[in-house]
């Protein structure tokens, strides 16, 4: 088991490295740089001054050399400074990461806490009115883009509950209730797609498992229905659900980015978008690598959780 973990962790290293090269390359493919982004092509900008700035920021070096500086900085823990604000990127990320992770975590919890019971219920009441309703809701959840949902949610919450995006983000540790009230609606918008997917996946998986011999055996042994459902059926139906949640939580980071912009939340996604606008290369690279790393780590975690859920997988690896 330990060897499997170590092997998986080692496999993640070249993946992350490859990703950093890809991100670095893509960032430098973007037309313009920080000087043209800050001046927007205005006639007021002085060309020779822009050239001097490029030199001062190290943008005159070759792309491989710039990459070398970036990647050695990453591994030595020196993330560098933002071109635009002069702030340490570690400080910027230190402020943004907890916000994004909180929203992603909250969204995942919402998706699992609501989606899974709904899926089980739908499977147990197959073809009933509630099943039909759940399936339709699931289809809607999969089909609605979260930026559109966010716009609707903004309209509805401001009109009916007087809730609007916070002017100033409150951290969980300084005021948990205020923080949760700020994060709930954005997290709900992020979670909607995943919630629908978890619900549909749980339903399908449960339906399959409920017809398995060991469930019939459990019932024949006289086990209470609650035990049959939770211990025998649900646990065995979790493997595909975990796969979906694991991979989709990574994808949630994309959704979080859009939602952060709409709700004006100063998280990693919002930081990334604005860094792209201003061609703040070091900041783009670090935020993008962070988001990619989250994705890789989650996939890794999913692989490892399989082993815990299914002893057969443990034995085969």
């Amino acid at each position: 088991m330990r060897r499997q973990w170590v092997r998986r962790l080692l496999q993640a290293v070249p993946t992350l490295l490859g990703m950093s090269i890809l991100i670095f390359g893509l960032v430098h493919l973007l037309p313009g740089d920080v000087t043209s982004a800050l001046t927007g092509g205005e006639a007021g900008a002085n060309a020779s001054s822009e050239a001097a700035l490029r030199k001062a920021l190290g943008l005159n070096g070759s792309i491989p050399l710039q990459y070398w500086h970036f990647v050695t900085g990453l591994f030595s823990g020196h993330l560098g400074k933002s071109f635009v604000t002069g702030q340490s990127i570690a400080t910027i990320m230190g402020g943004a990461i907890p916000i994004t992770l909180e929203i992603a975590l909250l969204a995942s919890l919402m998706a699992v806490a609501v989606g899974m019971p709904l899926g089980v219920l739908s499977a147990l009441k197959r073809n009933s009115a509630s099943d039909l309703l759940g399936r339709v809701a699931g289809l809607v959840g999969l089909s609605v883009p979260n930026f559109w949902l966010a716009t609707l949610a903004l309209l509805a919450t401001s009109r009916f509950f007087g809730w609007v995006p916070a002017l100033e983000w409150t951290s969980f540790w300084s005021d948990p209730l205020e923080n949760l009230s700020q994060a709930a609606v954005p997290a709900f918008c992020v979670s909607f797609y995943l919630l629908a997917m978890v619900m549909r996946m749980t339903r399908a998986s449960m339906l399959e498992v409920l017809h398995e011999g060991y469930v019939r055996t459990a019932r024949a042994k006289g086990a209470p229905e609650r035990v049959v459902i939770v211990r025998h059926a649900l646990r065995n139906s979790l493997i595909p659900v975990v796969t979906v949640v694991g991979t989709q939580v990574g994808s949630l980071m994309g959704g979080v980015t859009i939602i952060e912009v709409i709700f004006g939340i100063p998280g990693v996604g919002n930081t990334l978008i604005n860094a792209v606008y201003t061609r703040d290369y070091p900041l783009i690279e670090v935020t993008a690598v962070f988001l990619a790393a989250v994705f890789v780590i989650l996939n890794l975690a999913v692989d490892l959780v399989y082993g815990l859920l299914d002893p057969r997988l443990r034995a085969s690896t």
Partner: protein, 476 residues
């Protein structure tokens, strides 16, 4: 705020979002009032003994937000830094022709100009590039995320991509101002989020599109403010490539085939004005709306067709019109123009581009036609900077396709002429040439909408698209 200020650096070329903050925090030697008339600010008065010397008598008893007393060394330091801004600042090409700055005494500064420069007072009054900061501050603080000015508000918190918290400067030299104790400038890029926040009372005002402003006008709790800004729409031609539009008659034909009122109606809800290179409401400099509508920018399809025939392009040609993709108005304007130019057989392909790509293409002359926007200038000469043969934009965009020695001479004279009435006549001539030969095609200046809650009084839409009104705003 619809866009996040990337930083709040006072020195160097910055986007408008940064100015929205720095305009409230910093001041220069002089300032504009609502009508763009130059008023004293950190200088109480000034003398111009000859056309190469400006002597400013500074206001005494003024302090920066940090408590440091303001004096002549701060002016010398600030203008020195404006000439060579620290990264990521770049110097503006509008920097005046200052040869040296003498500190005559603690409250007197003399600017010695290398040559007469009529743009100097406008450069100062605009404030975008001319803020006064404490002597040596850039050595002591990261001015990209902190601030220390003499303006009506001081920055108490800057959170990138989120908000800037401002507090009233209780030592402000303008007695009684500002009225507001504090302001939070919140970044909400999504228009619906801004409108929800406004209607629920979470914010007191924001900028909106014509559609949302229309909806807001039905609310009894909201007041819709409107006005044109210097950010007008323009269509640029890449000249000198041997293309049909190198011929002045083709450009004149395009001008007459473009129906500006239709652009205003279809894209901007009918609200806006025709514009010259100098936008409407920019002091007394622009061409009147009557002249624009009836003389220069008349929609006249017959004349347009005749001009195309005379130029040998009766059967038209194909052209690609690059447009800034976001905000969408540039693409929308381009689509209307595309339809309009079909009538003179010009087949326009609209190519929306991300603003960075557009800017790069524009600066390097890598385009055929471009649908773009202009912005504020400190002096009318600034609107013609791209037509100056000495400038890099001219080299990339106009060289080899457009040259008018009389225009070049007039523009050079305009930079030196200090007499206001003579300058006015000169820029009338300049505009007449540009609006006849159309090296570039000014289109329309759309109305900008700001919606505020009813309790907000005395706010107005400033021509530079920033929140210049806030120091005089009060709430009931």
């Amino acid at each position: 705020m619809a866009a996040a200020p990337p930083n709040i650096a006072p020195i160097g070329v910055s986007p408008t979002a940064t100015w929205e903050i720095t305009n409230l925090v910093y001041e220069s030697l002089v300032r504009w009032d609502r009508n763009m008339s130059v008023q004293p600010a950190l200088a109480e008065s000034w003398d111009i003994p000859d056309n190469k010397t400006y002597i400013f008598h500074l206001r005494q008893g003024v302090t920066f937000h940090s408590g440091k007393a303001f004096d002549a060394t701060d002016v010398q330091y600030s203008f020195g830094l404006q000439k060579s801004p620290p990264p990521p600042g770049t110097v503006t090409s509008y920097y005046p022709k200052i040869a040296s700055i003498d500190v005559v005494d603690k409250y007197t500064v003399r600017f010695n100009m290398a040559s007469p420069d009529a743009t100097f007072l406008g450069y100062c009054a605009w404030l975008a590039y001319s803020p006064i900061i404490p002597n040596g501050i850039y050595d002591r603080a990261n001015m990209q995320i902190s601030a220390d000015g003499t303006g009506p508000f001081k920055v108490t918190q800057y959170v990138a991509n989120s908000h800037v918290a401002l507090e009233r400067n209780r030592s402000y030299w303008r007695s009684g101002y500002p009225y507001l104790d504090s302001i939070t400038m919140k970044v909400l890029a999504d228009e619906q989020a801004r409108f929800s926040a406004l209607t629920s009372g979470a914010i007191d005002g924001a900028t909106f599109s014509a559609d949302i402003a229309g909806a807001a006008s039905k609310s009894t709790d909201l007041v819709v403010l409107s006005g044109t800004t210097a950010a007008y729409n323009e269509m640029s031609f890449k000249l000198g490539g041997g293309k049909p539009w190198d011929d002045v008659r083709v450009r004149q034909a395009v001008n007459h085939a473009v129906n500006r009122q239709e652009i205003l109606d279809k894209v901007f809800g009918g609200k806006g004005q025709y514009t010259s290179k100098i936008p409407p409401n920019y002091g007394n400099w622009p061409v009147s709306q009557d002249d624009l509508k009836n003389k220069y920018e008349t929609y006249d399809l017959d004349t347009a067709k005749k001009l195309m025939s005379a130029a040998g392009f009766a059967s038209g040609f194909k052209v690609t019109l690059q447009a800034i993709a976001t905000p969408t108005q540039y693409v929308q304007v381009s689509e209307v123009i595309k339809e309009q130019l079909k009538k003179i057989n010009i087949d326009v392909t609209v190519q929306p581009l991300e603003v960075g790509t557009f800017a790069k293409n524009y600066q390097s002359g890598n385009f055929e036609w471009g649908s773009t926007g202009r912005g504020m200038r400190g002096d009318p000469s600034g609107f013609f900077a791209d037509l100056d043969p000495a400038g890099s934009l001219y080299q990339h965009i106009y060289k080899g396709g457009y040259e008018n020695q009389k225009l070049t001479d007039l523009l050079a004279q305009g930079l030196q002429l200090t007499d206001a009435s003579q300058r006015k006549q000169l820029y009338d001539q300049v505009q007449d040439i540009v609006l006849t030969e159309w090296p570039t095609l000014p289109l329309v200046d759309a109305v900008k909408y700001q919606v505020v809650r009813k309790r907000v009084h005395d706010m107005y839409v400033s021509i530079d698209a920033t929140e210049r009104g806030l120091p005089e705003v009060w709430v009931s």
